[in-house]
Symmetry: C2
Subunit: 158 residues, 2 copies
């Protein structure tokens, strides 16, 4: 089992020029129960299935188990997923000792940009790049699982 401690931010400036790597991600959810989230992901040429324990709003730590699976399996399982498939490009950007992952969303989530940084401890310090906007950690609206059901373009109706 792994733990995941991450903080999420909006974006307020150009970040793409600082990315050292980028790849396309398509993912969906086989389950979004109150207790766990089961995600299927195609990331570049690889496939993954991930089980995450549910995360209460405001908490930073959740349990996570991720396994690499054949990419063809992941593509087939995306057809079983409930609600919308998330389609995005992920940009990796170094800042001090950390790597920020910035997701640029497409389709029904077009217009949304989210940066995430993974920490080893909840109180860990990290360098904040100048393009980093307001923190949205723990705000369920910015969870990919929420976005798959209530995409960004539908938010004005929420």
């Amino acid at each position: 089992m792994g733990y995941e401690i991450e903080r999420k931010f909006l974006i307020k400036g150009d970040f793409k020029s600082q990315a050292y790597k980028s790849f396309r991600i398509k993912q969906g959810y086989l389950s979004l129960s109150g207790v766990s989230v089961i995600r299927v992901r195609v990331k570049g040429e690889k496939g993954y299935i991930t089980v995450k324990s549910a995360l209460a709003e405001g908490m930073l730590t959740r349990h996570e188990w991720e396994y690499e699976i054949p990419v063809v399996d992941a593509e087939e399982m995306l057809n079983l997923c409930e609600e919308g498939i998330i389609d995005k490009t992920r940009y990796l950007i170094k800042a001090g000792d950390h790597i920020f992952e910035v997701d640029e969303f497409y389709g029904e989530n077009e217009g949304l940009l989210i940066a995430e940084v993974e920490l080893k401890e909840e109180n860990e310090n990290f360098e904040r790049p100048e393009w980093l906007g307001a923190e949205v950690t723990g705000n369920v609206r910015y969870y990919n699982s929420f976005l798959s059901i209530h995409p960004f373009k539908s938010w004005s109706k929420l």
Copy 2:
């Protein structure tokens, strides 16, 4: 992706003396949505996560993807599972060209015995051992996923 074609039967006689192997299975369900079933299983010393597409009553074929995972992960994930954990011993019995799996359930499903045989084609013939009882293929009551929510001991109340 694999396909699973199996037929299920009740038991009407002694089968244990014919078993060439047996092992304990504990399993639970991370998700039981209308579209897919996600099962976590500890089988002897090994762990598995399995995704199955939903099966309409009366159908014999479903999609299935199974991955071996660390047994400690599977044990931890059983704590996330919804509803009841299924606990049973599985006996393997050869009959002609096929292997019957007979499950003897414990706990809330004590008293229930189910035999399954996996086939390559829906019309495939197979030898029927003398202890094989009535066929219950496609009857959702005998799905382990159903038993985890409505265990055998509660059936008189259904």
